[in-house]
Amino acid sequence: MNVISVFLQKAITQGIPLLFGANGEILTEKSGNLNLGIPGLMYMGGVAGLIGAFLYEANVANPIPFVGMLISVICCLLCSALGALIYSVLTITLRANQNVTGLALTTFGMGFGNFFGGSLSRLAGGVGQLSTATTASAFRAKIPFLTDIPVVGELLFGYGWLTYFCLIITFALSFFLFKTRVGLNLRAVGESAATADAAGINVNRYKYIATIVGGMMAGLGGLYFVMEYTGGTWVNNGFGDRGWLAIALVIFARWRPLNAIWGSFLFGGLYILYLYIPGLTRDMQEIFKSLPYLVTIVVLVITSLRKKREDQPPASLGLPYFRESRG
């Protein structure tokens, strides 16, 4: 297989967790909540899925891959939903500052992930010993024969089910936001909560549900990384700054899920570009790793210059809503 095709495949592999995170953040931001806790939620989702799989495999004599997978997905969704719930209660009900709450949640989530991930490694007998390979095999299972198609086989079909699920979620999210009544109402909440309220929309309910479901989507991104990318083990801080890339991707995609698809592949490609350019020194590698952020800044500059209203963030993003304060 030639280098280009491998690079593209790796770019997509790198892009998928970003796409999960970006979808979650888009849904959340459309309700007017700027959840900077998404990177933390991705850590929490990933480690919770790992804990579920580890406990299952450790306590059952002959673990079945599919059951392990199911358990780890459920654990991941529950834990990331719980994290998003904390954020929701603080920012929606208690109207705490969204930026501060989000950053705190990210710090908490990363610590949570590293603590439990590290603990699992010790339980498993030391660093590098932790493996939930059985469960991971279910995540990494590919459709037989299809990958054997020459040239495009690996590129199109060489991924586990989460990759395709992620694409389905993206299309579904786009349809939901722009083609359904509930999606319209949600966008109205994010643009002008007072207007939505006056039109009889339950603002707080929309914010809660969007933030929690968005958190769950982001959590799946963490699970994807742990299970499919690393094959069911934990490396402290292994997830790196991918959560922040996901948030940058939201801006890059101008709050449109479909843009986020190719954006995630682009970001994924830029993220690993340094591995494919021969003769780079360590310091040059770091510069290459920052390319996705650079691209995001360029996009920000361009959209700011164009001033197209549809490309702007939801108008009441980051603002708490309190009906009685409308004076």
Binding site: T195, A199, G200
Partner: protein, 511 residues
């Protein structure tokens, strides 16, 4: 005919703290009529209507809709009773289309069939003769188109009692005519329409009956055919109240400011102040009267150098008699030659004071440029704060107590006191006694008179005509952005000023 009555409000009372918004008001709306609710600023028109629309809840009184007593707790309750209110500030989502805004929050099939929605709405548009592009985004629309969206939104929700708060305030004459045509169509279809207004000619040309409020109280209702501009003005402004406010005669007045053909545009490019022309003298108080939003704010801001979108010139004569051109100076330079603006908007703390800082720090906002190097000087501002506290009787535990926690009257004294302390050549104050009790008000009047006696040129925007007539030497009246007249406050009557305030612009405006 009892069955003809759509809404009856009986004995409605609403207080906000110690401020009376409505006191024992009765109002009746009949089926298929246009009722005007007429009154000056602060007469309680909007708060009365807000109680019908579910924004406020009355302290006392009863509301009957079609003969049945109802309790309206939220805008949704009002919708359910078929009452829809269109506020002065539209509630629309900018980046959505007209059609999307109209169906916002309504139940229906999960999947949005915009074509079906548009067909339904279009039927409604045709029925009443609206012109509206349903695919246009709100941010692309003119104010009048946005208003149409709001009206259609209410009708689509089944409202048959429509309340419009100052609907023509933002419209051109042509747009106003179109709106009136639509309202008449709606009346023909049996809807009841209430419009809140202070424009007499509109009342006379559009409505069937007029209910008049004055200072929160119900004055009476007349059939429009029996009313004239004169009779309505009398009902609106009432008898002259005798106020005991000192008014010393101006001592050798000299022309201080000459506002020459000043026009100010708002963000949409509409004239909010057109071709203002007047002079102000030393040793006098020039009052500015007008319905809220007639250009008072823009006028003061253009003198203070805070208005970027203006044409025309403002001349200023300094102490040596030299004429200067204010329009060529920055706001900072204008401040330095002694022109001070104490603008007291509805939100007293919004412009001028920082709520979370104490008096001393607020004094420093005017003097932070003085001092050595990096360090600001605190002593003078502190002394000034103590002085103002002493002199004006500001009630506060200490000069470092956050001004946001003081009562309105005290905040006002701090603000006006600070501006006066710089012994300005021109002192401009807007609504200086809004929300103040009688004693504090008189203290503020005394402060203004003191400046006048010192030979300053005082410009005071006010809303209470009785006070303006008793305090000022001359009164300039603004109506819809134009100077509709300058009267001698010693001889003018309230009716005269009231008529000038509501006199309609006859000139053509390009839409």
């Amino acid at each position: 005919m009892e069955s003809n009555i759509m809404i009856e409000m009986r004995g409605i009372t609403k207080h906000f703290g110690s401020v009376v918004a409505n006191e024992n008001v009765d109002l009746t709306v009949r089926r298929g009529e246009i009722l005007s609710v007429l009154g000056e600023n602060g007469s309680g028109k909007t708060s009365l209507m807000n109680m019908l629309a579910g924004i406020y809840f009355p302290d006392a009184g009863h509301i009957f809709v079609e003969g049945r007593e109802v309790i309206i707790r939220s805008p949704k309750d009002a919708f359910d009773l078929g009452i829809g209110m269109i506020h002065q500030h539209f509630k629309l989502v900018d980046v959505l289309t007209a059609a999307e805004n109209i169906i916002l929050g309504l139940p229906g099939a999960m999947k949005l069939d915009m074509n079906q929605v548009k067909k339904d709405v279009q039927q409604l548009l045709d029925k009443y003769g609206f012109e509206l592009n349903l695919d246009a985004k709100i941010y692309e629309m003119s104010v009048s188109q946005k208003q149409t969206v709001e009206i259609v939104k209410m009708l689509y929700r089944g409202a048959h009692i429509l309340i419009l708060d100052e609907p023509t305030a933002v419209l051109t004459p042509q747009e106003t005519d179109k709106l009136f045509q639509v309202l008449r169509n709606m009346r023909a279809h049996g809807h009841s329409i209430i419009i809140i207004t202070h424009k007499l000619n509109e009342v006379l040309s559009l409505s069937d009956r007029v209910s008049v409020l004055r200072k929160g109280a119900y004055v009476g209702t007349v059939n429009t055919c029996d009313a004239t501009e004169m009779s309505l003005t009398e009902m609106m402004v009432g008898e002259k109240v005798v106020l005991d406010i000192e008014r010393p005669d101006p001592v050798n007045p000299v022309m201080k400011l000459h506002v020459d053909d000043v026009t100010v545009y708002n963000r949409e490019g509409r004239e909010v102040l057109s071709h203002a022309n007047f002079e102000a003298y030393t040793g006098e108080i020039l009052g500015i009267a007008g319905i809220a939003g007639s250009g008072q704010k823009e006028l003061l801001e253009s003198i203070a150098g805070l208005q970027p979108h203006m044409t025309g010139k403002i001349h200023y004569r300094n102490r040596k008699g030299h004429i200067k051109e204010l329009t060529e100076m920055s706001a900072q330079e204008i401040r330095e030659i002694g022109i001070r603006l104490a603008f007291v908007p509805e939100d007293r703390l919004g412009m001028g004071l920082v709520a979370s800082m104490g008096m001393t720090d607020n004094m420093m906002l005017r003097s932070y440029r003085k001092g050595h190097g990096l360090f600001a000087r605190r002593k003078e501002p502190h002394d000034l704060a103590e002085h103002i506290k002493e002199e004006l009787g500001v009630v506060t535990p200490s000069v470092d107590w956050p001004v946001g926690r003081m009562s309105g009257g005290n905040v006002q004294k701090v603000l006006v006191g600070r501006e006066i302390a710089s012994s300005p050549q021109v002192l401009m104050v807007a609504y200086p006694v809004r929300g103040l009790d009688i004693n504090s008000s008189y203290q503020i009047y005394a402060l203004l008179n003191e400046q006048k006696k010192k030979g300053s040129c005082v410009i005071c925007v006010g809303e209470d005509l009785d006070v303006l007539l008793a305090l000022c030497d001359r009164i300039l009246v603004l109506a819809d952005g134009r100077v509709s007249g300058v009267v001698d406050a010693r001889t003018a009557t309230k009716e005269e000023v009231g008529l000038l305030m509501t006199s309609e612009d006859k000139k053509e405006v390009q839409a």
